[in-house]
Symmetry: C2
Subunit: 341 residues, 2 copies
């Protein structure tokens, strides 16, 4: 869709962690633009039909135009080996897209190097200028707004929003996916990473995104959620996004079977029924949102266990549930549309 030919930089990627989230998202939702993956530990393998190479030089055979940082490094910063890799990309004439908290365009070495080679460094998390508090315009956007919320982070809220958007568009609805994180931005080509915005302006950034989603033709806006209301680190982002995007309806996302917050031993994931009530209770008083359905991530289960997990979620919440990746997004979209009326 963009004319770009992407080389995904996946050095140090491990399939066991969520650190390859950006790569997986691109392979699922922007596969047509991906020409190669760089990962020196898997040279010769294929991932989703894409060739893995071991160096920038080897990648050039696939004529990439842009290298995209596909993994999160420790602490969101670039260690020396990564800096050398990025410099290689720049010297080879590739633009670089980066979703980490460390910005490349500001870098005293890589910035000038990019200028010298006439390539662009695009920091996906860099906030736009002029952000401020919400104005109240979010309540006047003439569109149905749907936000994914969750029981933890990195469990598939972006995926659920994208699957619902795809299903809605396939039915001829004027649906737009509204990206709020670096991977969503890499996939859709616009958006604001709300977790990188100064905290005073998170709701204002979310307001700006729903306004832009409508300007892009959306009568149904599927806003990518972030974090979780009960998450020990990211709850502030979650609530700012919930209030600033002012959704009418919520989709509760959950990884089937999870009982502990990832990375926070001893800190519990709340029961689904409690989360449904809590999200409704903390929604903006001027526009109360209700949870229409539950989207489960059952990737780690077999078909039988997945179906049982869906049935259990329905029993626990009294709401329609499903895994849109495994079973399709139709049931969940039906539930949304019924709630929107």
């Amino acid at each position: 869709m963009s004319g770009e030919r992407l080389l995904i930089l996946a050095e140090g990627y491990s399939a066991d962690t969520h650190y390859g989230k950006t790569m997986r998202g691109l392979l699922r939702y922007r596969r047509e633009d991906v020409v190669a993956i760089l990962d020196s530990e898997r040279v010769g393998a294929e991932i989703d039909g894409v060739q893995v190479v071991g160096s920038v030089e080897a990648a050039l055979a696939y004529a990439p135009t842009t290298a995209l940082v596909g993994v999160a490094t420790q602490g969101g910063r670039f260690p020396p080996a990564w800096r050398a890799l990025l410099a290689d990309c720049i010297r080879s004439g590739l633009n670089v897209e980066n979703g980490l908290h460390e910005f490349l365009a500001d870098d005293p070495e890589l910035g000038p190097l990019a200028a010298l080679h006439g390539v662009t460094l695009r920091d996906l998390r860099h906030p736009p200028a002029g952000l401020d508090c919400p104005t109240g315009e979010n309540l006047r956007v003439p569109a149905d707004i749907v936000l994914t919320v969750g029981s933890d982070c990195a469990i598939g809220k972006m995926t659920v929003s994208l699957e619902l958007d795809r299903e809605a568009r396939s039915r001829g609805l004027a649906s737009v996916f509204v990206p709020t994180g670096q991977t969503g931005i890499a996939i859709a080509g616009w958006g604001i990473a709300v977790d990188a915005v100064v905290s005073d302006f998170v709701a204002g950034a979310a307001e700006r995104l729903v306004i832009e989603g409508h300007e892009r033709g959306g009568e149904l806006l599927l806003v990518e959620g972030q974090g979780a209301i009960s998450h020990p680190a990211y709850s502030g982002v979650t609530l700012g996004l919930l209030h600033g995007s002012a959704p009418h309806v919520l989709v509760l996302c959950h990884r089937a079977g999870a009982v502990e917050v990832d990375g926070y031993p001893g800190q519990p994931v709340l029961p689904l029924a409690e989360l449904v009530e809590l999200y409704e209770r903390v929604s903006l008083p001027a526009r109360r949102a209700t949870v229409a359905c539950v989207a489960l991530n059952t990737a780690e289960l077999d078909d039988e266990a997945a179906a049982a997990a869906v049935a259990r979620a329905e029993a626990e919440t009294g709401l329609p549930a499903g895994d849109p990746v495994r079973f399709g997004a139709g049931t969940l979209l039906d539930a949304l549309l019924a709630r929107l009326g």
Copy 2:
């Protein structure tokens, strides 16, 4: 306490708005260091016994060492007249402290000018380096942690924390006020403005603050709250601070009689009883917090109406209530200590 002699820059201050919050906070809690106030529209007046002057030159008669931006300008940025005023201060050898979102130390004109004149530009909202997510250490700080929460912003949460801290210290308790905003930092001389932190790191900044509060000798930490859980703009800051500071007990702050969020026409302030329950419900699952008492701001009422408002808040919530500024902080501190056990 600091050896500094403060000139408060209050140009454009209006007593009717909350934009003079920093000036009022300094006059109440750091009065001994304030030597003059600059406001060209009130030359010759006194505010709390401090002389108002019309220019930096006139202020020099009071031998200030530091000029402090005491008001919030529109959008948190400095218009041309303010930039000229700040340049005057710098050329007169004054350090400058600034709590707005626009940072002076980064300014291409004022930064070098300050270096030339050997003065310091201190941006109170500038986040410290190396912020990250919470580690879980917040749950292991060996201190009683109390956070003020509220029904709106700019209603006196900082004041309530400071009054409780003063009362606790007067009783011989090892209490420390933990500043989370620019005025609190200007008063106490340390802290992090959590509203200026990248939103991913608000909870991590709050964790760092309670750790530091304990390192500064606090066995009772009175953490300055921010925003409100139901505020259309600032709720994300509120929840990140609530989860990151991991309080045991909350004090609910409210401006008596307020029914609408300041600056957001038509957006309601929630009833006190609902706020009590909501704050308890959204507190960190790994450490549930309870509201111990209600602190009312009755500044706009007469004594009789204030007493009636306190009685009404007690009836609505079933909790002890009071206005610590008008009636003293003793009752509220008693309620806190009883809850902490």
